[in-house]
């Protein structure tokens, strides 16, 4: 199906909708918006920055009429290529819709526009003693709209679950320009087909999320944190399993391999821990209980003979440790010029085996200059093998794509895992969709996509609605 062009007339019409200050075709902007944190680059024809639902609806109405592709974007922190305009057209930057609309403590809920930044929301809630728990590593930059569209999760998922668990309702503009509200302000409701859950994780393929109603929860009274350093990833994974099977639910149960720990600690200024694989255990709760919970975790972790154990209740030091963990991906960029993170989810029982096999990938590829760091949410079976290489060297770039095949076709899917735990399919994982879901399920997803988006204008060429694979630029 041929898409329409962004013509001079389209640009005038866009300027009429949101004003010339919200429309850009500057080559500098087109380049900046052509990237996320993957290797890919796709330039839009025009970037727009709407400030209201009405403007979003009018832009989509125009795009649908002219069959012009529209790619929504939050903060562009995606590690999947989801916000890249593969087919050109209109790039819709949602970051100007960044108002916190209400904080309703009595109902433990907030209403926000899609462009509100995750950490900014939590800064606002902190004085009230509340927070929005999903905590992706990109929380300093990522937007709530982006989190909804990827069902973002992060470090605290083991205890609180992903974004999906907190979304009460959504305001969504359909590709046809209609505005719908899904869900309810109530904590319980089964009065619809659960359109909210359908939109959550849909990677901008079904509609543009403009407003979000979120549940919030009280902040824990205090925290206690332990760092356990192991010589092998296997021992670390077994320690995490022991903690999990004991029925303890920490705030975080995270890991970083040796390579990642080194650079992340260098960035965050964490000193004095021996070189090794890090298991980070963070417990929250009442002052009385938190120390005892952490002690149980440490006792269990010590059975796998860590090289080093350290416990802290010092807020500043805890924040450094968490900052190091959250900076794992970009910190790996200290090692090589290109850094690409993957996002596989595994059955908990298979995680140690998968981690060991992932560690072998660079050796199997055997290309000088390509290596791999690994880190992630070991408590919920989600790890982020991260390739480090130089994308400008063709041999390394090709090896990276062979590494993806090994990761997903030979390790993750055969072990019963899923292609993505929290980043989305985007562009990078689109070629493996049928391998995980089968052709019938994929076809059903395509039909669902057409129901919402008959002209296939919204975020085409990737994600869950296809058509794919279209991994151009790879």
């Amino acid at each position: 199906m041929a898409y329409g062009r962004v013509s001079e007339g389209t640009l005038r019409e866009l300027e009429g909708i949101i004003g010339s200050e919200g429309v850009s075709t500057r080559p500098e902007e087109l380049y900046c918006y052509s990237r996320d944190s993957t290797l890919f680059a796709f330039k839009p024809d025009v970037v727009v920055r709407p400030k209201s639902t009405e403007q979003v609806a009018a832009i989509l109405g125009l795009a649908n009429r002219e069959r012009i592709p529209v790619t929504p974007r939050g903060a562009g922190t995606s590690a999947a290529g989801s916000p890249l305009p593969v087919m050109g057209g209109i790039l819709m930057d949602m970051s100007a819709m960044n108002r916190i609309l209400s904080v309703d403590l009595e109902n433990q809920a907030v209403a926000v526009e899609a462009g509100v930044v995750c950490d900014a929301l939590n800064e606002e809630l902190k004085p009230y003693g509340f927070f929005f728990p999903p905590d992706p590593a990109s929380s300093p930059a990522c937007t709530i709209g982006g989190m909804v569209n990827t069902n973002a999760a992060g470090n605290r998922t083991i205890k609180y679950g992903p974004t999906r668990n907190y979304v009460l309702w959504l305001e969504v503009v359909l590709p046809t320009g209609e505005v719908v509200q899904t869900g309810s302000k109530t904590l319980k409701s089964v009065s619809d087909y659960d359109l909210t859950r359908l939109i959550v994780g849909s990677e901008g393929s079904l509609g543009v999320v403009t407003k979000v109603g979120l549940k919030i929860v009280p902040l824990p009274e205090s925290y206690a944190t332990a760092s356990l350093v192991y010589d092998s990833i296997g021992a670390l994974a077994r320690a995490a399993t022991r903690i999990r099977l004991a029925g303890i639910v920490p705030e975080m149960l995270e890991f970083m391999d040796r390579k990642t720990t080194g650079v992340a600690f260098e960035y965050a200024g964490v000193k004095g821990l021996p070189e090794g694989n890090l298991l980070l255990v963070d417990c929250g709760g009442s002052k009385e209980a938190v120390g005892a919970i952490l002690k149980k975790c440490v006792d269990l972790g010590e059975r796998e003979k860590p090289m080093h154990v350290e416990q802290t209740t010092d807020t500043a030091y805890r924040e450094k440790l968490i900052m190091a963990r959250k900076a794992a991906l970009p910190a790996l960029a200290r090692l090589r010029p290109s850094t690409v993170m993957e996002d596989c989810a595994l059955p908990l029982s298979k995680l140690p085996e998968a981690a060991a096999k992932v560690e072998e990938i660079p050796r199997r590829l055997n290309v000088e200059g390509l290596d791999l760091g690994n880190f992630g949410h070991i408590g919920d079976g989600n790890m982020h093998p991260t390739f480090t290489f130089d994308e400008r060297v063709e041999e390394q770039r090709a090896a990276f794509f062979r590494g993806l095949d090994i990761l997903y076709k030979e390790i993750v899917l055969p072990l019963g895992g899923s292609l993505t735990g929290e980043h989305g399919i985007g562009l990078i994982r689109a070629p493996y969709m049928e391998l995980e879901h089968g052709s019938a399920a994929v076809e059903l997803m395509r039909r669902l996509k057409r129901l919402f988006d008959p002209n296939l204008i919204l975020n085409p060429g990737k994600g869950k609605g296809g058509p794919y694979p279209l991994r151009k630029g790879g």
């Binding site: 850009s24 500098e28 970037v47 991906l329 960029a333 850094t339």
Partner: protein
């Protein structure tokens, strides 16, 4: 290796290492105002990349983005990948200057520094006018041999609203019995505005002049009350001319040392809630966070409260990075935001350690008729010592 004279081409690997995680956007003070991706530190790195790849040629739009940056260093500190963002932006400014795409005001500043050795264009004799203006003719000795050389810097020497900083520092040093002097009209602008604006070529001449003048007076220690001068002496001069042969301190470090030795004593109870704003060039750029706080905590009656974003997370007040010259509206808006932060913690006084911060915050206070006061740490110390300044 990146040096002060690195050209834009030397930053190819730096910008390649930017993997666009977006951490730098979180508290970037100027991105808020631009909104477009190109106005974020991450966006600036991408623009430098396309300039180097020659996908885009330098133009006014590129210049706008590179000069709408306070060079506050938040992105530099925040970047997990270790990209030298501020050096890259400075190199981009040098590149723009060479191609003639820089804001014209920069030529004016450069011309004044070249001719009169100060960015105000006033005569070099006027550099010591602050002494008479503040009534300290009997106290300040110019150009005599002394162990300590006080370097007030251009802002505190020429701006009537900031002269109080030079005066307060002089009064305090005198009251503490220190053997000190100033360079007088041999003091040249430290060169900080040249570096920030993309005119780094004359820097070596400026640095050599000042350092030689300091050596001629036999100074073993240079003390400055200006965060920008402190940064330039400690970070940039060594990169231009190597070892300086003397120690450089910010006045807050000297006062903290005196406090530790029980030589700095306070006789007045100030009974006021104060917050401390970390000047970017003293805090993030050079790591001096605690001395001003320790001094403030030691003053009777001062209740020190922290701003929501403090120390390395401090939001630039807009007074730096030559932003006040190139984008005065943004600079003023940043100062308004700083006042809002101060209101949130119920501070009556915003203390700082930089005359440029003081001036920009004062402008926002005047524009808003805001009841908050902004005082340099030396002014507060002088008050607590019961010294009459101006």
């Amino acid at each position: 290796m990146i040096t002060i004279n690195s050209s834009l081409a030397d930053f190819r690997e730096e910008v390649q290492r930017c993997m666009r995680c977006g951490f730098c956007r979180a508290l970037c003070p100027t991105w808020d105002f631009v909104g477009w991706e190109s106005g974020s530190p991450r966006g600036r790195m991408q623009i430098i990349k396309v300039l180097l790849d020659e996908e885009v040629q330098v133009n006014e739009y590129v210049a706008d983005r590179m000069y709408k940056c306070a060079l506050c260093g938040y992105c530099l500190w925040r970047c997990p990948s270790g990209v030298k963002t501020t050096d890259a932006i400075r190199a981009a400014r040098d590149h723009l200057v060479r191609q003639g795409y820089h804001p014209r005001v920069i030529d004016e500043i450069d011309g004044r520094i070249g001719e009169n050795h100060n960015p105000y264009g006033l005569s070099k004799e006027d550099r010591t006018q602050w002494i008479a203006f503040t009534g300290l003719d009997d106290l300040v000795k110019t150009g005599k041999g002394a162990e300590i050389l006080f370097f007030p810097g251009c802002v505190a020497s020429f701006s009537s609203r900031a002269m109080v900083v030079a005066a307060a520092t002089s009064q305090i040093l005198d009251a503490l019995g220190v053997n000190w002097t100033i360079l007088g009209d041999e003091e040249w602008c430290c060169g900080n505005p040249l570096l920030l604006s993309g005119k780094s070529e004359p820097m070596k001449r400026v640095a050599e002049h000042n350092v030689n003048a300091m050596h001629r007076l036999g100074a073993k220690m240079v003390v400055t009350s200006c965060a920008g001068c402190y940064r330039t002496f400690t970070q940039d001069y060594p990169r231009v001319i190597g070892n300086l042969g003397f120690q450089v301190y910010h006045v807050s470090q000297v006062l903290e040392n005196m406090l530790n030795q029980d030589k700095l004593k306070f006789s007045r109870d100030l009974d006021v809630t104060v917050t401390y704003h970390d000047p970017c060039e003293l805090g993030r750029h050079t790591g001096v966070y605690e001395p001003p706080r320790r001094i403030l905590r030691a003053i009777p009656g001062i209740r020190l409260v922290e701003l929501p974003n403090n120390r390395f997370l401090t939001r630039c007040c807009g007074g730096g990075g030559i932003l006040k010259a190139t984008n005065p509206e943004i600079a003023l808006n940043l100062a308004h935001k700083k006042l809002e932060e101060a209101h949130r913690v119920k501070a009556k006084i915003i203390a700082s350690s930089c005359p440029s911060c003081k001036l920009n915050l004062s402008d926002a206070i005047a524009a808003n008729e805001d009841p908050t006061q902004t005082l340099d740490i030396t002014e507060i110390v002088a008050q607590a010592m019961n010294l009459k300044v101006m």
